[in-house]
Subunit: 417 residues, 2 copies
């Protein structure tokens, strides 16, 4: 039974937005990426793993702000740490001791990291890491997986507007999980092979998420070692949800540089790059900065967040809850005659309907779940957070049972009509 | 008489930093940009227009975090507005109403703005604005002033590390305040002239700051109108300190796109681009986003900040205090036999010693001022904030009198030695 399906305030606020903002809402949270008209557009408030939209509808939150919320919205310990720093100030002519403390904790946690730098966006970090790799190797060619998302800068944006042909100079793409395709890209790069950038597993929009095939990452690792190129891990989406030592640990390889963002500050704006000692000199020669990058509040929040992730062994909890959710969804689907696949790591899962090409069933399912107070994205992987417990998963599965049933009903009605 | 000159904690913290961060402190706040060993490296806390370093030394703050602090550190009204939002949450699957309210207020304030978008860094905005201009015109050539700072992205970074020759493709530089140089750049761009990006006045490091010569901006304005190119104003450093309608108002021209950052959120991380209606469709076609860009806390802070800037007519106050400071510094210098020039707008002033090429006197003066509890940057323009009042300016001028005297003494001693 739908508990709510009104998005009146969302729609009226969107009209106001469209008058003063190109597209009304831009970027990854644009309604065009979800199911326009059938899902909320604007959030009002959050608490733990729930949030409320501007129409007063509440949702169990399985997107967690597209990743940053790893402990829960408005987490008391994080906010207390942030508030303590805030009373002293945030943005100064110098960094504060928070930067040093965070770099020490961060490099203590990420197993291969000898040093770290901090920024505000994931894109800041991937672009800088590529520059560091080129500076270190004095070579130009960058290998990347076709369809991988590494941010919004011109060299990697999924957008098409305003680009130059030169923006993609020296970039060679290869296919995920295809060692032959990778080797052929390496051949093309030849002596000018500077770096390869990969996500720890493949998580583009509008597809099943794909874990690395056995030995795929090790093929890459061996090749780049042999040729003196730099392996850059884009751990922005998965970092600290799978393994606190870095997501590479979960898949048995080691990068030279790795970029983090989403789960680093529980929503406080901060991103990071970690690197090996051998890259430190080159890193020091590639300028990076931003007006707010020394911001002490986000650093204090990140410190506390890393502390809690370790203390509460959050990745293990996320995996457990993720398995509960995935198994329950598959069973619920089966009960109503649907075959679905849960892909990606359990902590960052994604649902696809088997044999579905255009995601209509994903969209219908997400709409039915939203009506029942659960926010699932139809096209983008989901995120669990520490506040998701067995009760919330059970509540989700009750809603899913109804949603799958209602979809079946709709399909039968359509067939009968 | 020096009240403090110990930077022991700064130095020991820097040693810890250097172990885990390339260069110890990177970016614009690196000690290498100031006077290493003779000025503080790390901040501890701030309040109004004062801050304390990690050694307990206090400073009248004339850098204001390199600009973001426009009302004062830990401003009670800003922090109250931020706290109100923070209780409801910050980072969601959607924007909040704060984004719409801020876009409405922002476009109501910036006189030519029909729309706005928000980001986290200035560089996010200048790079995106250039893309929007290219998308709108379907042309490639970008004209920029030689030596102007527009951020850290590859096309404009002052750094040298890790760049590709292609990063500067289609960029043509011209000289500030040189109409002939501009016209010659326009000729080179020819039919492919997409955009010109300028700061409202010229404020590179290590030079006097230069206001636009009479008619220089109007020459640019006329040329780009005639040729259908886009005029991008990089108002990141000056925006909202000179004129709340945008710094172009202070110099009598109107851009098509303008980028803001520093004084927008009183230290809360937020940047913006404003544009004309004619550019809105193109803007909607150039992808932009970041993990924290919907962050409601920074938007709530920016809303309140813009409200206070208007209510308290802050730009007029900054100009008045800036004039008091500049006149007082020139007099104090003269009293001790120094000839200095105060350049740039009074609200964002810079001091240079006449005829000095290597900034040794600027460095000596900044060191003497730091000892006396006033933070002036020897190489980068300064920033005033609303918390600077006549008493603080008077306190500064007493310190300056001593500093100029002490420099003279040193010089005479050196000469005698």
């Amino acid at each position: 039974m739908p508990s709510h399906n009104q998005y009146k305030q969302s729609r009226s606020l969107f009209e106001r937005a469209a008058a003063v903002i190109p597209g009304g809402i831009y970027g990854h949270t644009t309604p065009a990426n979800m199911v326009p008209g059938e899902m909320p557009y604007f959030a009002e408030r959050g608490s733990g793993c729930r949030y409320w939209d501007v129409d007063g509808n509440s949702y169990l939150d399985y997107m967690c702000g597209y990743g940053p919320i790893v402990l829960g919205h408005v987490h008391p310990e994080i906010e207390e740490a942030a508030e303590r720093q805030r009373r002293d100030g945030d943005c100064f002519n110098h960094p504060t001791a928070r930067m040093v403390e965070l770099a020490e904790r961060f490099t203590g946690l990420v197993d291969f990291a000898d040093w770290a730098v901090f920024g505000k966006n994931g894109s800041d970090m991937t672009s800088w890491a590529v520059q560091v790799a080129r500076e270190h190797t004095r070579r130009k060619k960058l290998l990347m997986v076709r369809g991988a998302y590494h941010g919004t800068h011109a060299w990697c944006t999924p957008g098409k507007g305003g680009l130059l042909p030169e923006d993609r100079a020296h970039i060679i793409t290869f296919e995920w999980n295809d060692a032959a395709s990778f080797e052929s890209a390496v051949k093309i790069a030849g002596d000018d092979f500077a770096a390869v950038i990969v996500t720890p597993y493949h998580h583009p929009l509008y597809t099943e998420n794909l874990l690395p095939a056995p030995s795929f990452m090790q093929t890459i690792e061996a090749s780049w070692h042999k040729r003196g190129a730099v392996l850059i891990l884009d751990d922005i989406r998965a970092g600290f949800r799978l393994d606190l030592a870095g997501s590479h640990r979960a898949f048995g390889f080691t990068p030279d540089l790795a970029c983090y963002c989403k789960a680093l500050g529980n929503g406080h704006p901060i991103s990071a790059t970690a690197g090996r000692a051998s890259l430190k000199a080159a890193a020091g020669r590639v300028f990076l900065t931003g007006s707010y990058w020394n911001g002490a509040v986000a650093m204090a929040a990140a410190m506390k967040n890393l502390e809690i992730l370790e203390r509460d062994q959050v990745p293990a909890h996320l995996e457990k809850m993720g398995r509960l959710l995935a198994d329950g969804l598959v069973s619920a689907a089966e009960r109503h005659g649907w075959k679905i696949t849960m892909s990606g790591p359990p902590a960052i899962p994604f649902l696809t309907f088997n044999g579905e090409r255009y995601f209509y069933q994903n969209q219908a399912f997400s709409v039915e779940m939203a009506k029942r107070g659960v926010f699932f994205h139809p096209h983008h992987n989901w995120f669990l957070c520490a506040a998701h417990g067995p009760e919330e998963i059970a509540e989700t599965l009750v809603a899913a049972d109804e949603a799958f049933a209602s979809m079946k009903a709709v399909t039968q009605e359509s067939a009968a009509a």
